[in-house]
Point group: C2
Chain length 217, copies 2
DNA sequence: ATTTATTTTTAGACAAAGCTAAAAATTTGT
DNA sequence: ACAAATTTTTAGCTTTGTCTAAAAATAAAT
């Protein structure tokens, strides 16, 4: 598998997470910041290799072989992110692009030794689960802050958008994994959410609330 | 710089170490396990980018720009090797190929943080010096075991051949960095060397002796 | 049910990096 | 000094992955 093939298969894997149907050419092109025609070319190659199921104009689905391969790349990506934050003191907004390269290093032994060195972490710095060595992913139960109800309390356990910009905005709001949040009110006018955090009341926009995951308590 | 360009510039850098003249196309092809015609193509590209000086049929020399770039790749290679051995418990014969990939990860910040995490090591697991962040390399003074004289003593500080096969052979002989060796005798017939190691006498072939560096004491 | 708009695929080009085979230059041997 | 051997370069092809522009298929709108 080439680096490029790996990035495609991973993109399809991530896009398939909560989608039942085939993934569209355009969706993949968007995710990978490339052109639809390039995607079509690559999909054909992946189909020839038996990694995806593909019928023209019908979108693409991962074959079992492709799914486990993709999960392993995601495993590497997230383990490296954990390493960068926990051992090298990077912040959670700095690690994605570096992990995007590190995830392609080809050595089973390396990743198993890294896993042990890190003491077998179960989630990455953004709260995303780290697949095990066979590609299985633990189902984390979490809800979006935007869908939590007035009066509920929860711990921040993840983010949906993990772009640097969003993560730095959360830093500014003092929102981080592990923080406790209480939903004080929801404003019907603009769907903003009034929360209590560190004994302060702050208002969170609908867009922001739609990108924060809570585990309700 | 592409991965391939980086590997070429590094190869030229390593071949230039104790050579004054231009590096030949064939020597590079040999080192990189590729064909001379491919080397010629790449050299032209590197020359266009100002990384090397090149005149047809005259071999190639690193330009200053190329030298510092190459030194940075070597720095990354050796720091990662150190990490693999010291933190992930790899053995010295297992790390080269993995470092060959890791050396291409593009992040200044990553390598500086890794350096700090490792506590600024000065040599890699094979005794080779780790260039500093500006590409300067400390001159280590060491001699080949093959050139040490009868009666001299020394500490093993490096290897010339760092192939897995040779390193595993050294493991078998119980020769490792830091071990003390006394030259008891040199056999004129086949240039083998009789040494004392861990209070045992063993005979080392000329070829083996020519790939072990000592710091005499 | 057509027409219009959007999505997807194809066709044709291009850059990177490699190869083989042949030509050109340099080095070596006598 | 000149022929033979070796090294280096060139020419022409191949594979990967990308792109633009045009054609084909599907989806949406009237
Ligand atoms: Mn990637
Ligand atoms: Mn992540
Ligand atoms: Mn390399
Ligand atoms: Mn080394």
């Amino acid at each position: 598998m080439t680096l490029s093939e790996e990035d495609y298969i991973k993109a399809i894997f991530l896009l398939s997470k909560d989608v039942e149907k085939g993934i569209s050419t355009n969706a993949i092109a968007m995710q990978m910041d490339t052109k639809a025609s390039s995607v079509t070319d690559m999909i054909k190659k992946l189909a020839d290799k038996g990694l995806v199921h593909y019928k023209k104009y019908q979108g693409v689905r991962l074959a079992e072989k492709g799914r486990t391969y993709a999960a392993k790349i995601v495993r590497k990506h997230r383990l490296w992110e954990f390493f960068l934050v926990e051992k090298l003191n990077f912040t959670w907004d700095e690690v994605h692009d570096i992990a995007e390269e590190l995830e392609h290093i080809k050595s089973e032994q390396l990743i198993e030794k890294l896993d042990a060195f890190l003491d077998f972490p179960r989630v990455d710095p953004h709260g995303d689960p780290i697949p095990d060595k066979d590609g299985n992913i633990a189902k984390v139960d979490k809800v979006l802050l935007s869908s939590a109800k007035k009066g509920e309390r929860g711990i921040v356990v993840g983010v949906k958008d993990s772009s640097s910009e969003f993560l730095r905005y959360l830093d500014k709001l003092k929102i981080a994994l592990g923080k406790e949040i209480t939903i004080l009110n929801k404003e019907p006018f603009d769907n903003s959410v009034l929360i209590e955090l560190d004994s302060h009341k702050i208002s969170i926009s609908a867009l922001t609330a739609n990108n924060i995951y809570l585990k309700t308590i």
